[in-house]
Amino acid sequence: MEHIRTPKVENVRMFDKLTPRKCMVGTLYLSSTHTIFVENSEARKETWILHSLMSNVERLPTNPSGSPLIIRCKNFHVYRLLIPQEKDCVDVLASLTRLSHPERYGELFCFSFNPNLDKELREKAWAFIDLKAEFIRMGIPRNLWHATAANHEHRLCDTYPSELYVPKSVSPAVIVGSAKFRSRGRLPVLSYYHRDSSASICRSSQPLSGFSARSSDDEQMLQAIMKSNPVSEFMYVVDTRPKLNAMANRAAGKGYENEDHYTNIKLQFIGIENIHVMRNSQQKLIDVGDLVAPTMSDFLWGLENSGWLKHIKAVLDAGVFIAKAVAEDGVSVLVHCSDGWDRTAQACSVASVLLDSYYRTIKGLMVLIEKDWVSFGHKFSHRYAHLDGDPKEVSPVMDQFLECVWQLMQQFPCAFEFNERFLIQLHTNIYSCQYGNFIGNCQKERRDLKLQERTHSLWPHLWENRAEYTNPLYRNDHSQTQGVLKPLTTAYCFKFWKGMYGRAEKSVTSQSPADCLNAVREESQQLEEELSTHQEVPRETDAGQENCRAEGEDFRGEEEDQEVV
């Protein structure tokens, strides 16, 4: 509370981006977790903005009508306010700047969020996703793979989960030796086992190979992984980095596997750019969505210039390559990048979505995120700026995974049990810190924070509301639902995700066949509401009609009457 300089400001105006002439007058309240705008209208409509979702608050120069304040959120919502007194605006800005940049975990909203669950229910909620059960579901053959306790108490690798699945044939010494030869000890372990072909997807970080170093333990480890797939004579090592980046890493004593040292591996580079490139690309994309009255050319040029869809394609290409190797060629794959927690997580999870229809269900996607991202040490708190920290650590890695899934939904409208809204909801929750699931950077950190005792789990909450997130076209016996998805990755298949990046616009109008079907329900409900307002209002006033446009466009522009002389 000590950060709130002024808890309440009256006569604040809130603007709509597209109809700047229209605005709502109301009162702005600052709490320790939320900023709340309450309209003066009879409906007393409330807009709640979570402080932990704010990415940036900006004050524009004061003009005669007041001081404008722009709040940009991590889920790409933008709020435009006009505060009558400059002093109030400065105070609000200072408060929000501090409140939206928590410095300690304890300040995060999840530690004060209390949905009134008793202890027992809370524990049950945390047990909702069971990764042990997931590895059983995959149908791992017990004679070939097993769980090892080598990372008990995280003593082998502090960013890995304590329970790891490795080939049964490797000895503890090989495990330790392999871990020593991998960046940050992230040794090759099982991520997904494909029952139909008995090929597997394993993941790791880059080897500490430099220009000439080798480790017989690591070589044995890969050999064992290859051998746990009885039908195949070689395995792929997919380095998801551009080859140049991988080579540059050799100078730092890292790099990639030397094909001469490892028997029967084929190295494949995919070329997904690093987190810094992705961060800049997304910023450009957001700017495109922010353009005021762009022409079609401005928009398409901006989209191209951002490079965003090119990067999405690279991630999807990686997934397609791995899925094809595993399902069609029956070849196991080891995936890594540098540290094995960003691009590796993306590639493995996209491949899993393509390979296994379970991950295309609501529960399945939760399990997948819990497995490939949360448990394997994707650095959520760094990447999504949960705490005030190094801006260079921030990058939209998860955004890209969710978008890959969305792009797939566009191509396969009947293959996914969930809808677009589910993905957007996940995205918001990854950033918002309302639940404990995505706090911290690895399992060990989460355990030390005692998150399971101090915060709540998101998954059961989403599960209870699954009706809202269900795609009505999904049928588990539909041909699109079955088997492996083989998406086209032709350039023209990639679309701008309007539901995500066009959110500055008023309504989420549906984009394409596979879009969330609820958007349509929303739209028609909106139409309905407008129809009823319309009927209450006499025809001469156009209040009802005005809202019926999909998004308030001003068709007339400014040059109303240019008389030609």
């Binding site: 969505g289 191509q411 409208p413 009505p472 032709t490 549906s510 028609s524 998004e551 068709f555 030609v564």
Partner: protein, 556 residues
């Protein structure tokens, strides 16, 4: 010359056919006066492909040893390859295709020979007309009349025999006004808004010329349109500069001093060659799947097709704003008044008028505002995106309309009674058809050629009960409101259903559409027989569970 004289080789055996996403087939190829027929000649389960020669936009020949390959590029964007053993046969077939796909004489075209057993030539032709529209629209009866001043097409060769004009303007004045407008296209009524009686008029540009000629009758005609109200809008579909320049060639615009109650707004629209080239570029970009994302986006941008969609919808939105919100009448024109004028005025109607959003209503709108209004279909659709022929009068105005309608449909998945399948069918029929609907350039030509007497009507056939269903939108829920589409660039999309029609991409969408139908049908059955016929319901009815589901489904 008889058509059959173009055919030197009528039959070739052992031809291999390659088409996208199907294994190659061997069979027999036949050329007839109007068709290319491929048959795999299996005794059972034989498969045949019949292509109207008119549908073929371009052919490319290539010799491989003693055999030849013909690549056939169709106006509906399908690309096929035929491998023909024997060079001579190959050349003969190719030359037959070239000659027979480009017939000039209307009465030689296939619609004059198409005689399916289930249709008869006698009986009414078409769905709508000026007179019918007038009769249906009670609001018009008081102040407007149907004039037959053009009954012999002498006042305006491209107008229909009957037009709707203000009652107080007599035929003599119309003749004078026609003389003052390019091609004689004087201002006529296109639409009367059911809510406030405001109208959308269309015409061609006035022939003011360099020395600013005036025409009293034309001024009186427009004055009579707004009748007492203080203001009307003229939406000129050219930039101010273009309108200015048009004076040098005898055209011009309505000046403020002569038309004091009319406010003129200029909106630049591309026309003719520029649009055709835009289509060619877009189709070219879509047919190369090897492009990188950057290259694709750059080619998409460079084609400018979506920019044209954007301008058409924006200007239509502007017209709607004038009519619905400001409550003023509008006159739309560009130069000739046969392309963008029709595009904008018909889109505005779709946005404004619930009646034009039904299947019958939409086809009626096309009939009145495009076919009878004298859009020169034969000239505009002589070639599509693949042709190497030098461009003459080709222009995809109608395709652009269909694309815009698709954008509206995608943004308002419940508001239109028809489906994407209808738009795709129309996109195909407009270039090559069994029916006479899109033949010729105007009513006068159609009369002279005897189109009504000797061909069948496409629109009537689309409405026949056995095929109508595939063109219906399963999620249709009529709304009385205007449906304003968003024209923000991020809300407009490439029409994949048309431009990527022959790719795998389209196949999954088709499955999804089927899924929507099956869900809807299942629920209709459950809901009982009284709901099977898509009874019009309003949004105010208490929502039944069935309707709730309808709301859930999207725009497939």
């Amino acid at each position: 010359m008889e058509l059959s004289e173009h055919i030197k080789t009528a039959n070739v055996e052992d031809v291999t056919l390659r088409r996208p996403f199907h294994p190659a087939l061997r069979g027999t190829l036949c050329v007839t006066s109007h068709h290319l027929l491929f048959s795999d000649r299996k005794d059972e389960d034989s498969w045949q492909l019949l292509i109207l020669l008119r549908n073929i936009d371009a052919t490319e020949k290539r010799a491989v040893g003693s055999s030849g390959t013909i690549t056939i590029k169709c106006k509906d964007l399908l690309v096929l390859q035929l491998e023909i053993p024997g060079m001579e046969e190959c050349l003969n077939i190719a030359s037959s295709i070239e000659a027979l796909s480009a017939l000039e004489s209307v009465t030689e075209m296939y619609p004059f020979f198409y005689r399916p057993s289930h249709l008869t030539l006698h009986g009414p032709w078409g769905l709508s007309s000026t007179e019918k529209y007038y009769k249906q629209t009670e609001r018009l009866w008081d102040r407007w009349r149907v004039s037959t001043v053009n009954s012999d097409y002498s006042v305006c060769p491209s107008y229909p025999h009957a037009v709707i004009v203000p009652r107080e303007v007599d035929d003599e004045k119309l003749v004078q006004s026609a003389r003052f407008r390019q091609g004689g296209r004087f201002p006529v009524l296109s639409y009367c808004h059911h809510r406030n009686g405001m109208v959308i008029m269309r015409s061609s540009q006035p022939l003011t010329g360099a020395n600013r000629k005036r025409c009293k009758e034309d001024e009186l005609l427009l004055q009579a349109v707004i009748d007492g109200s203080l203001l009307g809008y003229i939406i000129d579909l050219r930039s101010t500069q273009q309108a200015q320049q048009a004076r040098m060639t005898g055209g011009g615009f309505e000046s403020k001093s002569c038309y004091s109650h009319w406010k003129r707004i200029h909106r630049h629209h591309e026309r003719g060659k520029v649009l055709q080239e835009s289509l060619i570029k877009l189709v070219e970009a879509c047919s190369d799947p090897s492009h990188s994302v950057d290259r694709w986006l750059s080619k998409l941008e460079n084609s400018k097709w979506l920019s044209h969609v954007h301008s058409a919808l924006s200007t239509a939105g502007l017209v709607v704003e004038c009519v619905e919100r400001d409550g003023h009448s509008v006159l739309v024109h560009g130069s000739e008044g046969t392309d963008s004028t029709l595009l904008v005025s018909s889109l505005a109607q779709l946005i404004l008028d619930p009646a034009s959003r039904t299947l019958t209503g939409f086809l009626g709108l096309l009939e009145r505002d495009w076919i009878q209004a004298g859009h020169p279909f034969q000239q505009r659709c002589a070639h599509s995106a693949y042709s190497h022929a030098r461009l003459k009068q080709e222009c995809p105005s109608f395709l652009l309309l269909l694309d815009c309608v698709w954008q509206v449909w995608r943004q308002f998945p419940l508001a239109l009674e028809f489906s994407e399948a209808l738009l795709l069918r129309l996109a195909q029929e407009v270039y090559a058809s069994n029916y006479g609907t899109f033949l010729c350039n105007n009513e006068q030509e159609r009369c002279a050629a005897g189109v009504k007497e000797n061909t069948h009507c496409l629109f009537q056939s689309l409405l026949s009960p056995d095929i109508e269903e595939q063109y219906l939108n399963p999620l249709y829920e009529p709304t009385d409101l205007a449906i304003w589409p968003s024209v923000h660039p991020q809300s407009l999309q490439l029409w994949t259903g048309l431009f990527l029609r022959w790719t795998e991409y389209a196949q999954n969408m088709e499955e999804a559409r089927e899924e929507v139908w099956s869900i809807v049908k299942e629920h209709r059955e459950r809901a009982g027989p009284d709901r099977t016929n898509n009874t019009p319901s309003t949004h105010c009815d208490t929502l039944t569970p069935f309707e709730n589901l309808m709301d859930e489904l999207t725009i497939l």
